[in-house]
């Protein structure tokens, strides 16, 4: 069972990895977005503010004006952000819902791919 604390720890690790990744910094230099992650079972929300490819702020609350919203069960979100699950497969399964422009979806997918390569 994935708890709220596990999710926070997973997100922290993921954010650290993104911010330390030089390849991502280079390719995301013009990418500034607000990402909201929502989970069920347990219900949780996190907002990640990305500026020029760096995650500058993480809040454990909902934020207005999200560019990207991810929504799935907590275990699914945890598996994605720990690199254990393929987000594209889950997306094509309908297990993971992504509300964003198609371009932003692909950027996010490639971030996960590069971080856990």
């Amino acid at each position: 069972m994935v708890t709220r604390e596990t999710l926070v720890a997973t997100l922290d690790t993921f954010v650290k990895k993104v911010n330390e990744n030089i390849t991502l910094k280079k390719i995301l230099k013009g990418w500034s977005k607000l990402i909201v992650v929502k989970t069920k079972d347990p219900e949780a929300v996190a907002s990640l503010k990305v500026e020029r490819g760096t995650v500058v702020d993480v809040k454990l609350e909902d934020t207005q004006g999200a560019d990207i919203t991810l929504s799935a069960n907590a275990d699914v979100i945890n598996d994605i952000f720990t690199g254990r699950a393929n987000p594209s497969r889950l997306y094509l399964d309908g297990t993971l819902k992504v509300f964003a422009s198609q371009k932003d979806q692909m950027v996010l997918d490639s971030i996960v791919d590069i971080v856990w390569k």
């Binding site: 997306y91 964003a100 371009k103 490639s110």
Partner: protein, 433 residues
């Protein structure tokens, strides 16, 4: 609850849906359907095609509300029929999109050739594809307000020109028979006319952008089908009263013939302008959506991994785009070399599209039982009656096109379907990534 910055309104959704459907290749498809009836009975054919397509749009609306995803056909059919069947259908759908893009490429190149005959249609095909591939790799999309303006300008142009034709002194519908080929041609003509609606459902990916729980997407789909029906019914009626069917039947650019017959060079340029907008709003969206579906399938493990490579600067799936464009180039140059066969890809696409509409209808029925508890923001009233009706009608329409068209249509259809199945069944398990 967070709200998306770009909340899409009904107007934008309708323009996106109708804009993708309205393509240059719709005009020869419409004239082909008119020849299957033989007269101005084509107007009733368009209305009937509009009604059945409007009914199937309800199925798309219900499914998009259940699974707001850009990979609609993959998700719906996977949930309804399982992985292998779904993958077969999805790959067949990719094949279908490439066939449509090839037909559109050739038809628009024929428009350019008519305006500038110094360059051959084959050369125009290559020029068009080079420009299109550059736009796609750079990720240039027509969206938002500009898309609204261009799309509605296109519809106003067609409707306006059609009304002008109907009210003009040249208009002579009295000498045109209603349906000299008898009622038998109606079914085939309806099936062919379905082609003009192709792509209206491609806005279901936008479900993600409007998935606030109060989406207007389900209601925008039938409205865009209605707009297309009115536009094409008026255009068909106007055309039949201005130009003899025999002058347009073997031409890939009947809309230009209509424009020129109505208003000389000015009419020709207006219709060429409309054709340009039609190709712009449909081709790019179709190819881009298709390349992203291939990207997602490659990331999922259903296509080779190299097809999921993204351009490091523009984040477009450039390898998938190059593959798609290579296949489109082969198909469209082949059509340009055999211009008499330009209707073959249109009829193949119409047969695949009608089959897809049948599958989507049956998916709704299947998911009513399999996914009873999944939340639906829109539910078709009357139980399974409407999806069952459209499922049966579109299956019959598919069979009608295949039975009444040249053998090349059936061969291409069968080859695409069998190869899609063999790939899903035997190649995908071996990809192992």
């Amino acid at each position: 609850m967070s709200e998306l910055k770009k909340a899409l309104r009904m107007r934008t959704l309708v323009s996106a849906s109708a804009g993708i459907a309205l393509a240059s290749s719709d005009f020869p498809a419409l004239i082909k359907a008119a020849t299957q009836v033989g007269g101005w009975g084509i107007v009733f054919v368009v209305v009937c095609a509009g009604i059945v397509t409007g009914l199937v749009s309800l199925s798309f609306a219900e499914l998009a509300g259940m699974y707001p995803t850009a990979a609609g056909v993959r998700v719906y059919t996977k949930k309804a029929f399982g992985d292998t069947t779904s993958l077969t259908i999805t790959i067949f759908y990719v094949f279908f999109s490439i066939i449509i893009a090839s037909a559109e490429t050739y038809i628009f190149s024929a428009v350019l050739h008519a305006l500038s005959p110094a360059l051959s249609a084959r050369l125009w095909v290559l020029i068009f594809l080079i420009v299109a591939i550059a736009m796609n790799i750079l990720g240039i999309e027509i969206a938002g307000a500009l898309q609204d303006i261009l799309t509605y300008a296109m519809f106003v142009g067609i409707i306006g020109l059609s009304l002008y034709a109907i009210l003009s002194a040249h208009f002579d519908i009295a000498s045109v028979p209603f349906a000299p080929l008898g009622i038998g041609g109606f079914g085939t003509a309806i099936a062919t006319t379905i082609f003009v609606y192709t792509g209206f459902e491609w806005t279901t990916p936008l479900a993600e952008e409007v998935a606030s729980g109060k989406s207007v997407l389900p209601y925008s789909l039938p409205i865009s089908v209605g707009l297309l029906t009115v536009t094409f019914a008026l255009f068909a009626y106007a055309t039949m009263g201005i130009v003899p069917l025999s002058q347009m039947v073997h031409s890939p650019i009947p809309h230009l013939i209509f424009g020129q017959s109505l208003a000389g060079r000015l009419g020709l340029y207006i219709m060429a302008g409309i054709s340009f907008l039609a190709t712009m709003t449909s081709f790019n969206a179709g190819v881009m959506g298709n390349s992203r579906l291939i990207y997602a399938l490659a990331r999922e493990g259903s296509f080779p991994k190299f097809m999921s490579m993204l351009h490091p600067k523009y984040f477009t799936p450039w390898i998938a785009l190059l593959v798609i464009f290579s296949i489109i180039a082969v198909f469209s140059v082949t059509i340009a070399m055999h211009p008499k066969a330009f209707l073959v890809p249109i009829l193949v696409a119409a047969s695949i599209e009608t089959l897809m509409y049948a599958i989507i209808s049956f998916s709704v029925i299947s998911l009513r039982y399999r996914e009873r508890d999944t939340a639906r923001i829109f539910r078709i009233k009357g139980g399974i009656l409407i999806p069952l009706f459209t499922g049966v009608v579109f299956t019959l329409l598919t069979l009608g096109i295949l039975a009444s068209s040249s053998e090349y249509v059936a061969i291409l259809f069968a080859t695409g379907l069998v190869l899609s199945y063999l790939y899903s069944r035997y190649v995908v398990p071996g990809l192992g990534h």
